[in-house]
Amino acid sequence: MSTPGLILSRRQTFAFISPAFAIIAVFLMFPAVWALYLGLTDLELTGIRAVMPEFVGLSNFVRVFQDSFFYNALKISLVFVFGSGIIGQVGLGLLLALLMHREKSWIKTLVAASAIAAWIIPDVVVAYLWVAFLDSDFGLLNRGLKLVGLGPVNWLFHYPLFSIILFNTWRGTAFSMLLFSAALQTLPPSYLETADTLGASAWRRFRDIILPLLKTTILTDVLLITLWTFNVFTPFLLTGGGPSFSSEILPIYVYRTSFKYFKLGYGSAISTVLLLINLAFALVYLQAKRRQKKW
């Protein structure tokens, strides 16, 4: 290794990093802090309160915790994160990775290619695909149900929360699947062969060999998926949060308050609460990641 010589002086270093940091400071860091301040005002999107907002102290924050729409959205978000994030993306991703491990059939290619396509196709397009897929008259799902004598079901109207959970599971499982597949690659084949020779059951192999190996990967994945799912806005494109707020997850509620009802001040107070929840998850995630590097 070469000695860490001074290729750049202190002044040059500063000059090199300042353009990037100026943009990050203004458009990424400042807004996060400013949200807290805006939450203390009655800023609105239009009208007199847009130009001259008044300082209203903590009243917005007090209101958040008395707001039945906030609790409704929080409850729906929890179900959504648990259903589509933990059970859906992490659970199904793990199952797929296990089923695909050391499998070479064309079926594996079909699953991997479809799941990855679902994951990388842009938001508006996947949303439209699901509007078509779930359509009560023409949709492929109802056509399929008809073949076995069921339906038709108006999914987005009668089962909106279930629909967006199913949608978001389909949308994001590929990430977990790829992460777990990569982790399984590091598993020495001899372990499973030995277990086979000893006649271990599938459950024992999973519990005693695979689970300990994947423990840290699962933790990382759960934290990331929770953080992402908590902030995802795409269900808005499917249901708009309705009917009558029954699929209104927190991001949709923030959108409605801030940009449909124009209450930027109150919207900022809710956003601050969400950003603090994000902060908690990000801190745990970075801590876990740091510890993994040391091991």
Binding site: L8, A20, M29, A32, D123, F138, S268, L275, L286
Partner: protein, 270 residues
């Protein structure tokens, strides 16, 4: 695993694979249908939906806007990101680790609608609402932290000997960056360039919140407006447009995963 489980395992895998595949089918078939509907059926082939896209003024304008946004964000992230990554790799100063940690922390927290509320208010103050520049700056700030991290890893892997030799020959630091480090980091720069391009290209939320006039919106918002518009069903245009819009994203993913594995894509996606 064990052979006695192979058939039930493959059957379950097939079932899940079909589940993942079916919603995609519409995108593959409908753009080519002579009479496009929400139903999936083997179409009587026609390319008329594609020609309708090119005759639609909004669609063509939005295509141009998407290119401007994506190229703009790409240029800024690449230029400023590589300068910063180079400096962070080649120098030591107090608080460097804290700075990197804060970058990572903020880039994972400031996401989604919650971040869009203060960003909207900020752009309004700076007179950047409803401007493409405002959207480009927000994307640039969002992608720069990840880009700096990935690029710093690449630069860390380049031996210092070349630069030290050039330094002895009397080159300036900007020349070191421009003629020595920059060319050597080219593979990393290529990845960052295409990832920034497609992430901007695919994003819906940021332009949806920050742009108001219909002649400024990118493809993502134009497609949304097509399908929320009441009146004439535009299913043909939407499906063909969606396919044209999606194709570059799929191509880039394919190229990157071939060369570098999937990890890179995850980094910039959220």
């Amino acid at each position: 695993m064990v052979s006695r489980f192979r058939w039930p395992k493959l059957f379950l895998l097939l079932l899940l694979g079909v589940g993942f595949f079916l919603p995609l089918l519409w995108l593959l078939l409908t753009p080519f249908a002579a009479e496009p509907t929400l139903a999936v059926k083997l179409p009587s082939l026609s390319l008329k939906s594609f020609s309708e896209v090119w005759q639609n003024r909004t669609a063509v304008l939005a295509f141009k806007n998407s290119i401007i946004l994506s190229l703009g964000a790409m240029a800024l992230v690449l230029g400023f990101g590589s300068l910063a990554a180079y400096a962070l790799s080649r120098s030591r100063f107090a608080g460097k680790d804290t700075l990197l940690y804060l970058l990572l922390l903020f880039s994972s927290i400031v996401t989604g609608v919650a971040a869009m509320v203060p960003i909207y208010a900020l752009n309004q103050k700076l007179l950047l609402i409803d401007t493409l520049l405002g959207v480009i700056l927000v994307f640039t700030a969002g992608f720069l932290p990840t880009a700096v991290f990935i690029l710093k890893d690449f630069v860390d892997g380049i031996p210092r000997a070349y630069e030290e030799a050039a330094l002895v020959d009397g080159s300036s630091s900007l020349a070191l960056f421009r003629y020595v480090a920059f060319p050597l980091a080219r593979p990393g720069l290529a990845v960052i360039a295409v990832l920034t391009f497609v992430s901007t290209w695919a994003n819906f939320l940021v332009p949806f919140v920050l742009l108001r006039s219909s002649e400024k919106v990118p493809i993502a918002v134009a497609i949304y407006q097509f399908f929320t518009e009441v009146g004439i069903p535009r299913i043909g245009v939407i499906s063909a447009y969606s396919l044209l819009y999606t194709a570059p994203v799929l191509a880039v993913y394919f190229w990157i995963s071939r060369r570098y594995g999937f990890g890179f894509f995850g980094g910039l996606k959220g």
